[in-house]
């Protein structure tokens, strides 16, 4: 069966001197009802990947012409602006990281929900209003009808994100892209929002592309996980495989950064070093300056994403497992 969404050879660059290759050859698929998590530190290209799918890249950014985002048999990246708008918000909807700044401060919750409905469907004002109330109830906002008249600043961060989710769900999209939906929220609220997303996805049967820097966040939701580093996917496998037997040293490091109950916390801090500048990726494997196992080959030669029994991985250790430092 053909996947619902297929991203092939996605490259997004930002003009500059030198140009920034934020997303540099990304491939993945998303099936109906499935949840794919894209995980990585900030600066690795997750958000730009998500925005590229809907063509939401602003100047000086540019999606390279050979990139393909295939949805329902058409390449979204070659669509006319008008056609693409029919997909945005209706077939593929998005929830952003900062609900406080992603909602328009001068428009009411009602306007911001109903304008999406009215952009994609022929629906009367009263019907749209009723639907907006239903949506707010769906995302568990108490006194939904009264909240319609509220402005974003009158709501808490968690409530704002619920409104964002209600907006995204308004046209019953086939794909929901959630870009760090809980990062800006308090820990307890985070859990509630994740729970809500999981429940709604099951109920509405939509596919979800969940983007996070935190493997802990995606653990309960993701069917498959793609780990990104340096604008590329460096490991892709089922969630179970990633958590049980991570192959790439970067994935291992990310896992170690997640606090877990079943083992003593050895190192809570992030991985040593930082994501290199996207304008100047290092030669060879892009992770080698931070990798404990790196040897000469990693410094000079760039590994490809290679299929293995457990999943795809982009690491020379698959060729030379004995190089692994114990």
């Amino acid at each position: 069966m053909k996947p619902l969404l297929e991203v092939r050879d996605l490259r997004t660059t930002f003009a500059g001197n030198p140009a920034t290759r934020a997303v540099d050859g990304v491939n993945f698929t998303l099936d109906v009802g499935e949840t794919l998590a894209i995980v990585g530190e900030s600066g690795c290209g997750k958000t730009v990947t998500a925005l590229s799918i809907l063509g939401l890249i602003d100047e000086p950014g540019r999606i390279e012409p050979e990139s393909v985002v295939e949805f329902g048999g058409v390449n979204l990246l070659t669509l006319e602006a008008r056609e693409l708008r029919r997909i945005r918000g209706a077939e593929i909807a998005m929830v952003f990281q900062e609900p406080a700044t992603s909602l328009n401060p001068v428009l009411t919750v009602e306007t911001q929900i109903t304008e999406t409905l009215r952009a994609h469907r022929t629906i009367s004002r009263t019907a749209a209003r009723a639907r907006a109330t239903d949506l707010l109830e769906l995302v568990r906002i108490p006194q939904a009808a009264e909240r319609l008249g509220a402005y974003p600043h009158e709501l808490s961060g968690g409530m704002q994100q619920r409104v964002m989710i209600a907006i995204a769900l308004s046209c019953e999209p086939k794909v929901l892209i959630a870009d760090e939906p809980t990062t800006a929220l308090d820990v307890t609220v985070q859990a509630q929002i994740l729970e809500l997303l999981a429940e709604l996805q099951g109920r509405l049967g939509m596919a979800m592309l969940l983007i996070s820097h935190d493997l802990g966040v995606v653990a309960g939701l993701a069917d498959r996980i793609a780990v990104m580093y340096g604008g590329q996917i460096i490991e892709q496998a089922s969630a179970a495989a990633i958590f049980e037997r991570p192959m790439h040293p970067y994935t291992e490091a990310l896992l170690k950064a997640v606090p877990r109950l079943d083992r003593p916390v050895t190192r809570l801090s992030a991985i040593a070093g930082s994501v290199p500048n996207a304008a100047t990726w290092p030669d060879g494997c892009r992770f080698h300056p931070r990798c404990p196992h790196a040897w000469d080959r990693c410094r000079t030669s760039h590994p490809e994403l290679t299929p293995t029994a457990a999943g795809d991985v982009r690491c020379w250790l698959t060729d030379e497992p004995h190089r692994r430092v114990r």
Partner: protein, 324 residues
């Protein structure tokens, strides 16, 4: 909201009070008393001068003079116009509607043209069109308003003969015209002065609006609006412009002093029978109380303009609106 308006009103009154104090200080500091040069004029009856002297209590201690002066201002008594042989307030009052008409028309040009240009530029920031328009608005902003008036007058009045060059109405036939024709005559007379006065403000507004638009268009909620699949027109008009207009409202308050100062020059260029021309004529005719009266009134208008801008901002920005 009521408390906010009340507080602002009180503040406005305090500022007008300060302005009155300022003019009083200037009158005190000026060489001689304000009646000395008028009293030497042969045209002014002795009794009128004496009566004014008593009214202003110029023979009393300074503190009493001050209180008396403020009291007079509060009652709308700006002093006496020796050129028109009637209270200065009456002389100003007769010209006020013409100035308000001119200022209102100029405001329409200022904000209509300025906001339109600024938005268009903000959406095309960095393009060739934007560069050219930026230079044009900076040039207009650097142009003396009275000279711009003269150039427009030469071009559209004298050379092309499309529009009348002076006055508020046709001096000969206006009274015989039908109501509709009278309105048309007024509009034709108003066009050049209003465009002249409005153009300078439009240049300033365009610069401001462009910056505001650039600032808003980068915000997250614009990306949200696009991700919803809204038409670009809706994104710009409903989401970007509504937010980018907020800072321009403060400009509305700031535009008032510039506008009123401009009326003095533009009214002189086009012989527009308003408060500004009256002020200039009063200076040349040493009719001091008309000058100070007009200045105080101009300040009151500025304060009211600011008050209006403050309230408008409160109403339009839900973040500053109090829970009712």
């Amino acid at each position: 909201m009521h408390r906010f308006v009340a507080a602002r009103l009180l503040q406005a009154v305090a500022i007008v009070f300060l302005v009155g104090t300022l003019t009083f200080l200037l009158l005190q500091l000026a060489p001689g008393d304000p009646l000395s040069s008028t009293s030497s004029s042969l045209l002014v009856p002795r009794t009128v001068v004496e009566q004014q002297r008593r009214a202003f209590g110029l023979d009393r201690p300074i503190l009493e003079q001050y209180v008396r002066y403020l009291g007079n201002l509060a009652r709308g008594d700006f002093g006496y116009s020796y050129r028109e042989h009637r209270p200065a307030w009456h002389a100003i009052r007769d010209r006020l509607p013409n100035t308000l008409l001119l200022a209102a028309a100029a405001l329409v040009v200022t904000f209509g043209l300025g906001i339109g240009l600024g938005v268009a530029q903000g959406l095309r920031a960095g393009s060739r069109v934007d560069d050219v328009l930026s230079l044009v608005s900076l040039t207009v902003y650097s142009t003396p308003v009275f000279w711009l008036g003269i150039v427009l007058l030469l071009l559209f009045g004298e050379t092309l003969r499309w529009l009348p060059v002076s006055g508020a109405t046709d001096p000969v036939v206006y009274d015989q015209l039908s109501l509709l024709a009278q309105a048309w005559d007024r509009i034709r007379h108003l066009t050049l002065p209003a465009v002249t006065l409005g153009a300078i403000g439009a240049a300033a507004t365009a610069r401001f609006q462009r910056a505001a638009m650039l600032d808003v268009i980068r915000q997250d909620f614009i990306r949200t609006a696009r991700a919803k699949g809204l038409a670009e027109r809706t994104v710009v008009l409903r989401h970007a412009l509504r937010n980018a207009l907020l800072p321009v409202i403060t400009l509305f308050g700031l535009a008032f002093p510039l506008l009123l100062g401009g009326t003095v020059l533009v009214e002189t260029v086009f012989a527009w029978p308003g408060m500004g021309k009256l002020t200039v004529d009063a200076i040349h005719g040493r009719d001091y109380f008309v000058v100070t009266g007009a200045a105080v009134l101009a300040a009151v208008m500025v304060v009211l303009g600011n008050l209006l801008a403050d309230i408008l901002y409160r109403v339009l920005d839900p973040r500053t609106r109090e829970a009712a």
